[in-house]
Amino acid sequence: MEHVVILGGGIAGTTAAEELRKLHADVSITIIEQENHPLYSRVLLPHYLKGKVPREKVFLKTWQWYLDQRIEIMAGVRAEAIDVANRFVRTSEGRELPFDALIIAGGGELNTLGGEPRGVSYLRGVDDADEALMLLRELKMRPAEEQRAIVIGGGFIAMEYINFFAHYTVPCRVVLRGNGFWSSALSEHSQGVLARKAIEGGVGVTTNEPAPEVVGEREVEGVRLSSGEVLPCSLVGVGIGMHPDLSFYRECGIAIDRGIAVNEYFETAHPGIYAIGDCAEFFDRHVGRNVVYGNWMNAQTQGRVVAKTIAGERTAFDLVSSYTTNLLGLHIVFIGDVDRRSADEIRQTVETEVASVEEFYRAGNLVGAVLIGDISQRAALTATIKGSG
């Protein structure tokens, strides 16, 4: 083992590099990262947006750290091709990097509305957060009646936008594609608890709008609904999910399904090529099926595990994945596999005005849970999912 190349310098790829260096003093490690920043915490971006942490605290590594660790980072560089047979990566700078092991930790691409005027905000990285803050300052300079924001989407990023606008007392309305928040994942009761919380917090909720359209030539003027009505606003926060850039990997001849297909050791079908993080579809033994998860703990733990395997200690992944957020202070926790279509049975175990707990079962085993407003069962449910895997 001489050369390890890592595509992606996010938490998955950087953790893999850091762990590999600990286990292997001599191997050469190169990270290819599209963004021109050292590692930062995407999870800290909401805190940064709300002024709870200064911008510099968002960064988890300095450029000096990479030097100290003898990890080469090519920042602002893309991988243009992976030659699986001849084992090298060609970069956007035209360099060809040979590898003995390749870790694909490329994350995902944001789903976008397309063709947006100024004032449409996405929240993928620190540059987006900087832009959102700039747009917020501009909005705050406008006459009071124009200080309106719209959030498109009803998932984790939408929560961050709603909390962000609420923090700065910007009147906001959320436009949802389905019946409610996480409409394909949650029960009607769960969606009702969230919708009530939003409305109580002064957030307007518009449902069943599959294709809201941003209106405005150069600058955002509003969002057009299916009825033709235009809701006026000067800032739109969009959180409509992400997807791995699978066509690139497919063109390189790497087997993919919903993500890059790997086993529980993150090995692809090609010897020496691994995939981790948001772009990997792996076998999760705790839930008994192939899954793609896009969250921090998952990505970080996978980085650690794949480094061990590459260093010679083949290690299977063993984590019950979870993700937590809040809507205006109402706690929301997703644990394990909460895909409704893949569950045999879903039990609504807490059903009050302000709380909802759903348990997801497959073949008699608990594989996932959603906790809203009442998270007291979190540890117990996590333990049960871990135990039944």
């Binding site: 915490s41 709870k52 937590t324 998270i375």
Partner: protein, 88 residues
Amino acid sequence: MKLRIVVDPDLCIGAASCVTIAPDTFVVNTDNKAEVLDHGAAPDAPTYERFVEVTEEEKENIILGAQSCPTLAISIFDEHGTQIYPAM
């Protein structure tokens, strides 16, 4: 050796990665914030800050737990008050 382990509840988002890695030291409470335990127990009362006597191996794992926090909500100090994590 003794460590002082401090959780900033204002930064903590309840991701629980610390609990996954160091369950004897961290637990998430009903406010979705991590509290500090002393070897699985909370003598006196639940708290966001505690001195804990640890072995070298336990120390390494607690630091790993702190490093796993995506919001850097956990700080660790040695018995002299020097911050071990995050590096200053």
